[in-house]
Subunit: 192 residues, 2 copies
DNA sequence: GCATCATCCGGATGGAGAATCCGGTTAGCA
DNA sequence: TGCTAACCGGATTCTCCATCCGGATGATGC
């Protein structure tokens, strides 16, 4: 970003992110002090690289966000606007339910997470584009705004968390909830 | 519960709950130390009455939960099963969006909140009854289970929080989201 | 290869907040 | 009015988070 990191610093950076990734996957909340211990590093080292747990979480979430953005850009080239939107939302919900690092990042106000602001902006604009294409095709109810997409996806992910269950259950539940919601959103073009 | 409280203890209990109610309404997170200060009481007094912030929150949320349960029982006597379910869910979401004390209580696992366990159980069974009535009437999609009601309502409330806005906006958003979801849930009886 | 410097490491230290504990006080009752 | 049990309240302890600086280490020029 600014300057190539010194070799040891880069190595420690990687270790920290790896440990954080593991902690997130096993559902443990990120505590920088704890991360330092598990990475075999001093607390100061971790705090220098990541000033807050949120910053670390952002870094952990970044690859997944990028994958989503990629998929979204690809979806924009699809021929069926409704299917494109549907597929994008499906991926979004699956990712949120599968990867515990995404939910906090997605739900946070845009400007509170400096490192992923741009990425989130990309995702938002892709979603907006997919939605307006679908709306132009008469495939979604008109009172659904672009600003509703993120909240609704976060809401489904939250609902799945409340429901609980094994990882496989969770994915299944997410599919059911999204399908139900989409049925409420979908409209069939009235001929025009 | 166990024995009538001594007069001063009862007075202090009321003060604590009133302060907590005010804090919840203005969106401040409950900290027992802070509550003590605002109520003009010692920290120990507050901790004796409520061992944890969650316990205090439960007490704050109780009247609202009772009102919901009342409405639910009343809804069970309605003639149109779908309308009854719809009305109950609407009240539930409105309450969650309006009263910040409900969301944490609603989303918590049943056994973690001793004081409201029974009340939540009542609500759950009312919801289950309303749902099965509606299902028997062929008014809801069959893959919606009773265990989905609470998560879905919590999810909508969460989505509204992510969306943000003024209190009036929030209620409006909640209505829109619930309406969309209900449209996905609703089925018109296929003749049988 | 070696000296020099910037950068990084890491834990000891400081600070904020939460929860406990116990001497003093007050309400209820005979 | 005197006695006892229950209650009050803040000083104290404990835990966890974040900073800071002396020591170490990798990068650069000769």
């Amino acid at each position: 970003m600014t300057m190539p990191l010194r070799k040891d610093a880069a190595r420690n950076w990687d270790r920290i992110v790896a440990v954080a990734r593991a902690l997130v996957d096993q559902g443990t909340p990120l505590q920088l002090n704890d991360v330092a211990g598990r990475a075999g590093l001093g607390v100061g080292t971790v705090y220098r690289h990541f000033a807050t747990p949120e910053a670390l979480l952002e870094t952990v979430a970044t690859p997944c966000l990028e994958a989503l953005a990629d998929h979204g850009r690809q979806a924009l080239t699809g021929t069926d606007p409704w299917r494109a939107l549907e597929g994008f939302l499906l991926r979004t919900v699956e990712a949120q339910v599968t990867d515990a690092s995404l939910a906090p990042v997605a739900a946070a106000a845009t400007d509170t997470l400096p490192h992923t602001t741009e990425l989130k902006e990309t995702l938002r604009s892709v979603g907006t584009a997919l939605l307006s294409r679908a709306r132009d095709a008469g495939a979604v109810r008109p009172d659904l705004a672009a600003a509703d997409l993120v909240p609704l996806m976060c809401g489904i992910a939250y609902a799945v968390n409340v429901h609980g269950g094994t990882p496989a259950d969770r994915i299944d539940t997410a599919h059911r909830y999204l399908a139900t919601l989409l049925e409420g959103l979908h409209t069939t073009p009235q001929h025009a």
